[in-house]
Amino acid sequence: MSEDILSLIKENVVQGRINQEDEGMEEGMEGKPAVTELVQKALDDGIDVQKIINDGLTSGMDIVGQKFEKKEYYIPDMLASAEAVGAAMEMLEPHLAKNGIEPKGKIIVATVKGDLHDIGKNIVTILLRGAGYLVKDLGNDIDDQTIVDAVKKEQPQFLGLSALLTSTMTHMRAIVQSLKDAGIRDKVKVIVGGAPVSEQFAKDIGADGFGADGFQAVSVIDSLNS
């Protein structure tokens, strides 16, 4: 029984259905219970929270990642799945705390000063939340000092910086330098991303990691986190 419901959760994550009104990818799914209803049922049935996360949500997201990799899924497909996982994680949060399970890590994300493009950063935020991280999103067009201050105050393990313009990506270098000047560079790992950003650029400015797309951002953070 527990396996059935977990595989249904997984299947619905792949379909990107949050609740029963959602259409999903395939025909005829409307009206059937989706991720949030199924997770509620799993909780009611007393299924282990960690099992719901691992065998339902995370394994569903793994399949989504593969489909995205194979170019079968577009970004809106991936976001629908990640949002379903995010909604489920919100429901599971009180149970996680009760069972003494901590979030995987704390991350601050921001689009740098002068840059109004926040779609990329929002995608990464949704995916990170779906992957079990606690994410604080500072927004877009955020000046260097505000970001450094937030790192001091929130003490996250990770700082994710996004830029779409070649003219604004230079702020990333300045922020890494400001973290050094403030003496907190070794307290936080800096991950950069966005259309003009490359692996080489990340190295040049002394960042810890680079994500070419949302999934890569999550896997880079996962590997730096372990």
């Binding site: 995205f68 577009y74 970004i75 809106p76 109004l116 990329g120 003219s167 797309d213």
Partner: protein, 481 residues
Amino acid sequence: MSVARKGLPGGSYKPLSDEAIGKIHRTAMRIIEEIGFQVNSQDAQQYFEQIGATIDKEKRIVRLPQKTVIELIEKAPSEFTLCGSDEKNDIHLGGSRVYTGTGGTALYVYEPDRDEKRPASLNDLKKIAKLVDGLDNIHLLLLPTYPNELPVDQIDVNRFYAGLNNTGKHIMGGVYTLEGIKNVIKMAEIIAGGKQQLRKRPIISMIACSMSPLKLDEHYADMMIAIAKSGIPLVCPAEPLCGATSPITIAGNVLMQTVDSLMGVMLTQIVNPGTPVIFGSVATSTDLRDLKYLAGSVEMGLTNAGSAQMAQFYKLPFYATGGMTDSKVLDSQSGYESAITNLLCALAGSNFIHDSAGLMEFAMTVCLEKYVIDNEILGMVMRAVDGIKVDDETLAFDLIKQVGPAGNFVTAKHTRRHMRSEHYEPTLTDRNLREDWEAEGGKTTWERAKVKVKQIIENNDYGLPEEVKNKVLSEIPDIVH
């Protein structure tokens, strides 16, 4: 005589029915009235307040009733002229007349012989201006590159000077600072021979964008205000992207472009009623695998053709976007994407197709050889716009009677009279037999284009008169000469 075609009426291609145009218009008015748009400039907010807009100060949302929107649109001129330094280069915007031009603003230059791209410099911009001056099917120079070596406060004057000093065609360009706008206008006044002369014959025009969806950014709105006050023609383009900054549907995108460009059009007419303003579209689709801006999709042609019809409905001159490619090299894709999007825009009667030559790779890169290739595409496109003329002379009954069954038309005077005007004469296309093509070096399209690039640039001796040049250099700061 061979003919250079420009300003011919398009409009034979109509992807929108009259009913569809009406429905898009009514929905656009409903958006402006019910949802409103965000205005992030204090000055712009005050202008909208002056004409009685409802303003939610906290959320910076401006809402206007349909009646006011229509009144403002009606204040904008339906027709005006973008002048060249030389009158033969004038562009009479309006109706369904079709003109083409370059576009930007690209950061890189691709060099096909080295198969390499590198950052664009001011020198590249000068070379492109010289090249475009010699390409008949490109009617206007929109400053296509960003000189990476210059600080931002020197960009505006240097870009416009590079254009004005190297071609007699009209110069349009994006602008980056308020100080830059002021100095560029001052420079153009010197070149035009005075303040009034420049307003009478505007040899420059500027571009200030709105942000899709439904947002006027602070800096750009302030620049729109400054340009409108100056009386220089300007474009207010919007760049909705299907599935990212507009609905995924083509209709939803045309709708978003309509509203977003009208925000700018309205602001200019409040600031300075009668300002020559161009309704603009940079609308396209996105790659929904990574949200890249797509420059060569057929949907881009389709949306821009639809927006051309909306512009004709509002009786506003239209700035379309077409003619680019996402290819990284000069291959088949670079040709077919440029051709299809240019053709759809032109047949729909877009007044000015911007980006129509030279751009590749998501509009980030220009290539000199591609300007020459696109000049050929545009020549063919303009021939298609020209359509089929039917009258006694073209039907030639008397001639057919004279030639009779089993005769031929090769020696007919009628053939010589019409052969150069009725048929597009290629300037780049290869129509040789294989042996002849091989004998001439077996060159591919871009290799032939490369030869022309060199010829045109070397033979171009256009330049501002010495005394004008000296006056500009002494009165305008920061020009790198």
